[in-house]
Symmetry: C2
Subunit: 515 residues, 2 copies
């Protein structure tokens, strides 16, 4: 496309402006978690609210809607598989969703979820589900209303919610993948439990100063391809990665002296997110995209939480917890971290960090068991939304599921149904994206190995460029040009399925547990 | 005042919103100088421009003007010496100034100064004033036009410009103070030069690691009263202090291993600005103001550059370079900085850092000679604006003045008339605020000593609270309630004059130079 028509240029300019507001809001958030002095908190809350208000105004402005419709009616823009046609399609979808919700419902949800979060915090403290139940009921009722507003009338209400996080995903399709996955992982985990053997993990708790952990983490991130001239690594209580704007991707982590691999894998996780952000076609050179600068346009944005999570999980688990990685990393680790890990071999490290041991708390779960936590939540929240499960029966249903799939008794709702903040936020349809991320990651990982049989050797020699370039080309450069399902099929030649993840986990876990 | 009328509340809300935009812009600027990765620069420029545009829109909105007029017509608000009446008076003044300049002139100035800055940079590099002259002519022409738009017709054009930096100051009044000051300081400096003695300053260049300098600088700032729960200290190439928002005052400095007192006095300078910002009535507790939160309102803003500079200069020079200060500071300095300064006494330190030695470059000038640089610039820029001096004759006039007042020959325009960026920015009327700051500081310093004869003993024992509280009460808590001249008279009982600064410099310099 040589030159864009005027309405497309005007639309891009508006979108770019709105994206700068988003960038500013992102910086305010980042600063709040990293460097803002405590005294700035009150004013910061007002600044954040002002930015959100201005952004909302811009993104629901009739002028924007008119430009979108004018471009959508222009076949020179919408015919063919072009970034322009994808941008218009996605902007139209976003605009319609944004303007579909009545203001009163948005306010009611904001108030209910704010109160529900407080109620949840108290209830969790006391392990008292009864105190949270009325708030959960209220949030569910309003969330159902929201889903009704957003729904296209086809399929179930849940689909209208998940679309915010995983566009075009359907609960029934997710179920079709999760059902075999759940059974096979549960069997695997229960087999391992019965088997009773476990590798020696003592090395993970040897004390290592945070400043050394940080230097090693940065060294690894840089080696994997994270560009520190277009990004940063800082410290926060809750690690995150934020694309503050084009050329500015900021990740954070935390350091604990007695668990040095936590920060390493935390950094590799956020780095996975960061590499995706750095690979989006935002006018910066990354060697793979020939798209013009897509700042503010859908083709410049990450396509879904699931795909985003596939990137973080892949670098954290598939790469970081592999033997080839430790063949390369261990000598560098010894150099950075000192004699405290002098006795380790790549094999001892790879085995120490590979686990599948049932536990009650999702955020502390290991790679082998994590998806079971997610799939339980998916089933329960789907049933809650559909009205097939009453909140009064939720704790029992939760505990049953943990017994069935993880073989665990839940001692109290504090370690059970009250452990996650998500539902109090009204985040229904969000949980499955975690396991979708793992599924995508495993399928990508299998494909890249099939296509590149030298991959393990490359990683063992510290050459991460071929792996990163595969993602740049197949995933990153496309932004939201395709749906996640299309992207998966384009990248791997197949629709998403459970098999690659099951195979990946078996291949990884059986040897470690001597099975 | 028990409860405000509705139009005052609406006006305050609007002002508060605009001030949050200013805060956000300030954070963008701070981040750009401290932590932003290089790759973020392009997008940041667009974000900054967007914020400036939104702020301008808000601050020139007819709705704001109408609210101001409605409040100004409400005698329940404007009668008496109340913060409300001051807020309305100042907001009206600001609004009128902002809406008086034609858009074309603003654009023309923006373009001309942007080009002039580039031209200045090149010209300075080559020491070629001729290459800068046409741009200076252009900037002067447009700045004259600007002054004509802003002028009330009384007094000279220069007054309309200085009002942006030092409200209500008049060139003729400044001249009346500067003229005796210039002669007396010049005589003092030339006497010292002739005298030929100089203290031993070798200690200032002993190598001290930046991390130690930083720890000591923070220790001193905290002891003086800077509240780190409402502020920060970071590193930048060009040190500054920015009131990012209520409860959030961020200062920066730079460290050079071979000049440790530079960072110490740099921190004390920015800390002086920071203490002023932290003392404004912005809803945070500082023990002196009973005003309601003035966020976004003139009474919550610093009154002038001169008064701001008085705070930084006072802490940097009057406090930091004094014998009482070093009686307290030296043991702490030895503890933080180590044995490298073990041989020092408070007397040796105080004498090493007190100087009055003519030099060519303003930003490197010492306390004794600095004001001569400023007063030369004031005379020249005033004559340029009035058309009494042609730019063609500027370099010669500059060199003459340096010969007369500092006894120096200027070897080239690079070290002469081309050294400062200000004029290329269109900053005419800005220079005198530096010396006004020193004049205010000396007059405040004399008054606080008269009122509190124990001040030196308090400082020598590390008790800075009485000094800080004096400023909180007399200066900080008032914001823009009074003009700088009124504030000076209220705080010291006298109008601003040259005597306190001359006496301060003589008292300080004569003993050090053995005169």
């Amino acid at each position: 496309m040589s030159k864009h028509p005027e309405h497309y240029i005007a639309l891009s300019d508006l979108a770019r402006k709105a994206s700068h507001l988003r960038s500013v809001a992102a910086l305010l958030g980042w600063d709040q978690e990293t460097y803002m002095p405590a005294g700035g908190a009150n004013a910061r809350a007002e600044q954040v609210a002002l930015m959100a208000g201005l952004q909302h105004e811009m993104l629901t402005d009739k002028k924007l809607g008119d430009l979108i419709e004018s471009c959508a009616a222009d076949t020179s823009l919408t015919s063919g598989d072009t970034p322009e046609s994808a941008n218009i399609r996605e902007m139209r979808k976003d605009f319609n969703k944004r303007t579909k919700l009545p203001g009163e419902l948005v306010s009611a949800l904001a108030e209910a979820t704010s109160r529900a979060q407080h109620a949840w915090k108290d209830a969790r403290e006391k392990g008292d589900f009864g105190a949270f139940k009325p708030w959960l009921d209220k949030v569910l009722e309003l969330t159902r209303e929201k889903a009704q507003c957003l729904s296209d009338g086809k399929g179930e209400l849940y689909d209208a919610l998940i679309d915010d996080y995983e566009p075009d995903a359907k609960a029934s399709e997710i179920e079709a993948i999760f059902t075999p996955l759940k059974d096979q992982i549960s069997n695997l985990v229960l087999d391992i439990k019965e088997n009773g053997k476990a590798p020696n993990r003592e090395v993970l708790n040897r004390p290592i100063k945070p400043v050394k952990q940080e230097a090693f983490g940065k060294f690894v991130a840089e080696a994997c391809g994270f560009d520190f001239s277009r990004g940063r690594l800082d410290i926060t209580t809750h690690p995150f990665c934020e694309g503050v704007g084009p050329g500015d991707t900021r990740m954070t982590t935390r350091y604990r002296e007695a668990s040095w691999t936590d920060s390493l894998f935390g950094i590799m996780h956020e780095m996975g997110h960061g590499l995706y952000e750095q690979g989006l076609p935002l006018g910066a050179p990354h060697g793979q995209s020939d798209l013009p600068d897509q700042t503010g346009l859908p083709c410049g944005e990450a396509v879904s939480l699931g795909i985003h999570e596939s990137q973080s999980r892949l670098w954290e688990n598939a790469v970081g917890c592999s033997l080839p990685f430790w063949k390369w990393a261990l000598p560098h680790a010894k150099e950075h971290l000192g004699s405290v890990i002098e006795d380790q071999t790549p094999e001892s490290m790879a085995s120490a960090i590979t686990t599948a041991e049932p536990s009650l708390i999702r955020v502390e779960a290991d790679e082998g068991t994590y998806n079971l936590h997610i799939m339980i939540r998916f089933e329960l929240e789907r049933a809650l939304l559909a009205g097939d499960l009453d909140t009064a029966d939720l704790p029992a249903a939760w505990n049953d599921a943990y017994k069935t799939y993880l073989g665990l008794d839940v001692p109290s709702d504090k370690e059970g149904v009250l452990q996650d903040v998500h539902w109090s936020f009204g985040l229904i349809g969000y949980f499955p994206t975690y396991t979708l991320g793992n599924l995508y990651a495993a399928q990508f990982w299998a494909t890249v190995h099939e296509e590149n049989p030298s991959l393990d050797d490359q990683i063992a020699s510290g050459d991460f460029a071929p792996l990163l370039m595969w993602f740049r080309e197949r995933i990153h450069q496309h932004g939201r040009r395709y749906t996640p399902a299309q992207l998966c099929e384009k990248a791997t030649g197949k629709p998403l399925s459970a098999e690659p993840l099951v195979k990946y986990l078996k291949d990884k876990l059986y040897p470690v547990y001597g099975m």
